[in-house]
């Protein structure tokens, strides 16, 4: 059940052939539904459990403690003078955004099977709304990060103003992955076994618990930067820790480019499989 929200004087329904592009006008018309779905996802996440908020606080703090002890104190990874807790925390904020929203968005189409088989709307807003709900958690984590910065006497400096930009880039990369995996999951139900693997292993491949520039040999750098999360995490560290932690720019832009390609292809793949969703879900 749905009302087409446009004033469209005439609408034609016919088989779509060939390559389907993204209909941004339509997505814009359904922005309110997108808002409602994101609002629902947030409500549900924090309603079902009173531990919800506590867990959101506890999880990154515990991880920071483990990483600081393991990589900072025991393995003595280079820190370039910054507190190890802040090095990992600054990376954890985008990483958690990515991994938490990916595990939920990859399953989001299947979880919305009922709505999908009853109502029309651009399906892309389903993974998009799930990924957007990650902003709430990111907000909480950011406040925690500020507290940690105060504890470790890390000064707040102007680069911090760039943080929203990097957070938005995190959203785009997460949404790209969400679009890919949610569409794949409709067609191939064993994809859901792949996602936890990515989120577990990904943390160590992605430079979350360490500064990768010191570890990855020079000739492997560009290869390493094919990971779209490298740019986002380097950006976060840069804006939190200051100019000394400036990203390795060629790698940064390569990583960003990979993320962008993933986003475009993800949305395209989603769009081109979308029309079959109601029939096979």
């Amino acid at each position: 059940m749905s009302v087409d929200q446009g004033p469209a004087p005439e609408r034609v329904i016919r088989p779509q052939r060939g390559f389907i592009t993204i209909n941004f006008g339509e997505l814009w018309r359904y922005r309110e539904l997108f808002g409602f779905l994101a609002w629902r996802d947030i409500l549900l996440r924090y309603k079902q459990t009173y531990l919800g908020v506590t867990w959101v606080i506890l999880q990154p703090v515990l991880m920071v403690v483990v990483f600081t002890v393991l990589f900072g104190s025991v393995a003595k990874f280079p820190t370039h003078g910054a507190p190890y807790a802040i090095i990992t925390f600054a990376a954890l904020v985008p990483w958690q955004f990515f991994s938490n929203t990916l595990s939920e968005s990859s399953n989001s189409m299947v979880a919305s099977a009922r709505i999908i088989s009853r109502v029309y709307f651009p399906r892309l807003i389903i993974p998009a709304s799930v990924v957007s709900s990650g902003f709430v958690e990111a907000g909480i984590s950011f406040v925690l990060l500020l507290i940690f910065m105060a504890i470790y006497h890390v000064p707040v400096q102007p680069l911090l103003l760039l943080l929203p930009v990097f957070l938005f880039l995190t959203f785009l990369v997460s949404f790209a992955a969400g679009a890919w995996f949610s569409a794949l999951n409709v067609k191939y139900r064993d994809i859901r076994y792949v996602v936890p693997f990515i989120t577990r292993l990904g943390m160590y491949v992605t430079p979350v618990p360490f500064l990768w520039m010191d570890i990855v040999p020079e000739r492997w750098r560009m290869w390493y930067c094919l990971n779209p999360l490298v740019a986002v995490i380097d950006g976060f560290r840069w804006s939190v820790l200051g100019p000394k932690f400036e990203p390795y720019w060629p790698g940064f832009f390569l990583s960003l480019g990979v993320g962008f390609v993933m986003l475009v292809t993800g949305m395209m793949y989603f769009r081109n499989t979308e029309k079959t969703f109601a029939d096979i879900i």
């Binding site: 329904i13 088989p15 629902r40 009853r118 191939y188 064993d190």
Partner: protein, 407 residues
């Protein structure tokens, strides 16, 4: 002006193949170079019709005739395989009430969410909220999670939201079949108000009474094709004649050669509701009228009426002797067999077999004399939908015994 025009619409489904593959299967298939055999069938083919502004059109047809597929294509949920539809105006489709309701959310939250899913804007929902709450007859529970609601309450709220949709074209599936009778009536009233307000309504239902009351025109789908269109009375009559027995009994009663001695021969069979109407409803009772011709007067015959389900399982074998009519019978005559209202077969398709014995010898046998359909109805008088999990329905009495003391 036609607000909906449908041209050569077709939808093909793939059968047999498992719909969602696993990546593993696909990869193994790739290496083995095997292609899965897929059977295809057309759920709709070459369907064309126009709906004029302000029309209220009933779409009727048996299960599997393609009604739901047509609705899904009109609602843009699934894409047609061929043909096209042109729609002028804001369209809303109700294929279900309460889509998107979440048990953890409160009535108020669900109203907003469901309204948005239905296509209402935030401003629209805010404006109509009090009206919706009043229509659902619940204001003190709005901030309680829906999981604590009774099923009736949830349905009422879901209906209330749906009833406040305000599109130019409204497509309604058989959603009125749930909820208690009084609330159903209220919703039907609301729907006909919508229709009278000059909006275009497409209504799909098995409930011929509701269709006839609500609609002025009809489209009858049969095996994925349009079998008839026109004024609802005409289309409904064609449908009833085709789909249901007894309408023109003579046409429907099919028999081959006499199998047996021929001392009595069946000449006609009609099946109807107790009030003589053609539509047999679960819980409305059933009347079987059969006519025969004999060779002589005072035939010592015994008549059998056997009822089979769609899987050709014999559900009932009813005979005139045990039914209290031992005969003998006149040369030509007609018999009436009545199935009571407190018992019913579950809604579905059935077939009737007729047999007659004279002096224990087979006189006539018509294996598949007629097919008939039992429609869903309010068998238990409480507006609840019927479970089709068993062959029969029976009104029974349940009592709770007072606790007994074990000494």
């Amino acid at each position: 002006m036609a607000v909906i025009s449908v041209r050569q619409l077709g939808k093909e489904y793939k059968l047999g193949a498992q719909m969602h593959d696993t990546l593993r299967d696909q990869l193994t298939a790739l290496f083995r170079g095997k292609k899965k055999q897929v059977e295809k069938f057309w759920a709709l083919r070459d369907v064309s019709f126009d709906v004029e502004q302000g029309d209220c059109v009933g779409i009727i047809g048996r299960n599997g005739a393609g009604k739901s597929t047509l609705l899904k294509i009109l609602s843009q949920i699934t894409e047609p395989t061929e043909g096209e539809i042109r729609i002028r105006g804001r369209i809303a489709s109700l294929l279900e009430v309460g889509t998107g309701f979440h048990p953890e959310l409160t009535g108020r939250e669900n109203t907003f969410l469901n309204g948005a899913i239905l296509g209402m804007t935030r401003a629209e929902i805010l404006r109509k909220f009090d009206e919706i709450a009043a229509f659902a007859e619940m204001d003190s529970f709005l901030d309680t999670p829906v999981k604590h609601y009774s099923s009736g309450m949830t349905t009422r709220l879901a209906f209330a939201v749906a009833a406040h949709l305000d599109p130019e074209i409204l497509i309604i599936d058989e959603v009125l079949a749930v909820g208690d009778a009084a609330f159903q009536k209220k919703c039907l009233g609301r729907m006909s108000e919508v229709a009278r307000a000059g909006r275009t309504v497409l209504f799909v239902s098995h409930n011929m009474a509701a269709v006839s009351a609500l609609c002025s025109k009809g489209i009858y789908l049969e095996r994925g094709k349009v079998a008839a269109t026109g004024p609802i009375e005409e289309v409904a009559n064609i449908y009833l004649r085709d789909a249901l027995p007894g309408g023109d009994g003579g046409n429907q009663f099919k028999r081959g050669d006499v199998r047996g001695t021929g001392e009595v021969r069946f000449t006609d069979l009609q099946i109807m509701a107790l009030d003589g109407s053609k539509s047999v409803v679960a819980g409305g009772g059933l009347r079987v009228r059969l006519s025969y011709e004999g060779n002589t007067d005072n035939v010592p015959a015994r008549f059998f009426v056997n009822i089979y389900d769609a899987q050709q399982f014999r559900l009932l074998s009813l005979d005139s002797l045990t039914g209290g009519l031992p005969g003998p019978f006149p040369k030509n005559g007609s018999l009436e067999l009545t199935l009571p209202t407190n018992f019913s077969l579950t809604p579905g398709r059935y077939s009737v077999e007729l047999a007659a014995l004279v002096n224990e010898a087979g006189a006539d046998h018509v294996p598949s004399a007629m097919h008939f359909e039992i429609q869903g109805g309010d068998f238990f008088g409480n507006g609840r939908q019927l479970f089709n999990s068993a062959a029969c329905l029976l009104r029974t009495q349940w009592e709770l015994n007072p606790p007994t003391r074990v000494s």
